[in-house]
């Protein structure tokens, strides 16, 4: 347990000193502010850029527009997050900084678990920053009540956890940054393709990222997501176990 806490602490320190935490936090903060502003300003911009005589009357922006922006931008932010942290396993493997600690008796599973804990805490923190800032700005700029707001946010968060753990598995399997990126992107691609089949939609973790807006507009109810959430959690556990297994066999 002491080794685990020490390693997790080291991960946090590393993310601060390599400016990764700064980048992620500022980008999430910026997007958090931009979401409601874009939603509010977009109809005005559209009508002011329209050429003379062309009449288009965009509807008055509502609370839901701000959250549509939030979920649309969150997938971009997730990609950025994965790119920034893609080297978390492979950098240590290529630099050989883990050898000393592993030969002194640090269990290999501690390495993976502490990295996972650290990266998920950073993801949660930055997601929370973005969510709270969007919430405050939306309350002020586009006031209104929406159903299932915290639940929808949790769905997107869980999808992020799935992608991040996939990235970790990629690092443990291939030992290179490209492996992590490829696996995370490829996995998202597979989920997207599986979404073509309507029968699979209910079980697909991809629903967690695309279905958030329909929760807010009451097209779907939270119980539609339960199966997908269970599948996602099962996937995450499976991914963690397999990354520990593959890291155990890895030559360092």
């Amino acid at each position: 347990m002491r080794a685990f806490i020490a390693m997790a602490k080291k991960e946090f320190l590393e993310s601060i000193r390599t400016y990764k935490l700064l980048i992620v936090a500022t980008v999430f903060l910026l997007f958090g502010m931009l979401n409601p502003i874009t939603a509010k300003i977009m109809p005005k911009l559209l009508s002011s850029f329209m050429p003379e005589g062309m009449a288009i009357t965009p509807g008055e922006p509502g609370t839901v527009d701000s959250w549509i922006q939030f979920y649309k931008n969150m997938s971009t932010q997730l990609i950025l997050f994965v790119i920034v942290f893609s080297g978390i396993v492979s950098n240590e493997l290529t630099k050989g900084t883990l050898i000393n600690m592993l030969t002194k008796g640090l269990p290999r599973k501690t390495v993976i678990l502490s990295k996972f804990t650290a990266i998920i805490s950073i993801w949660t923190l930055s997601y929370l920053i973005c969510f709270v800032i969007t919430l405050i700005y939306t309350r002020y700029l586009l006031p209104g009540e929406l159903p299932n707001l915290p639940f929808a946010a949790c769905c997107m968060w869980l999808f992020g956890v799935l992608e991040i753990s996939m990235m970790l598995l990629g690092g443990a399997l291939s030992g290179s940054i490209y492996g992590s990126l490829l696996l995370a992107v490829g996995f998202a691609g597979v989920l997207m393709l599986a979404n073509i089949f309507p029968k699979l939609e209910e079980y697909n973790p991809y629903l967690l990222s695309t279905g958030c807006v329909s929760l807010l507009t009451s097209e779907r109810v939270p119980s539609d997501f339960y199966v997908s959430i269970i599948v996602t959690i099962a996937f995450i556990l499976l991914i963690i176990i397999s990354s520990i297994c593959s890291f155990n066999k890895k030559q360092i």
Binding site: T18, K20, I23, M33, I41, L80
Partner: protein
């Protein structure tokens, strides 16, 4: 122009954050003159004139190893 004035209170924090990011990156560029590619003047221009994206690109791709 009216739209701009109306949203000025919301744009100011955005601009402050942009500049915090740019200045942090600028200090790093000046203090650590080793980059994965490019040279000092190139990174100063990128960091200062490509807002938001410039500093991020510098910290992810351009920052050299110690």
């Amino acid at each position: 122009m009216d739209v701009l004035v109306e949203f000025l209170p919301f744009l100011i924090p955005l601009i402050i954050i942009e500049w915090i990011l740019a200045i942090t990156a600028l200090i790093h560029v000046l203090r650590h003159p080793h980059y994965k590619f490019g040279n000092k003047s190139f990174w100063i221009v990128v960091v200062l004139f490509v807002q938001i994206i410039g500093p991020i690109v510098y910290f992810i791709f351009g920052r050299g190893e110690e």
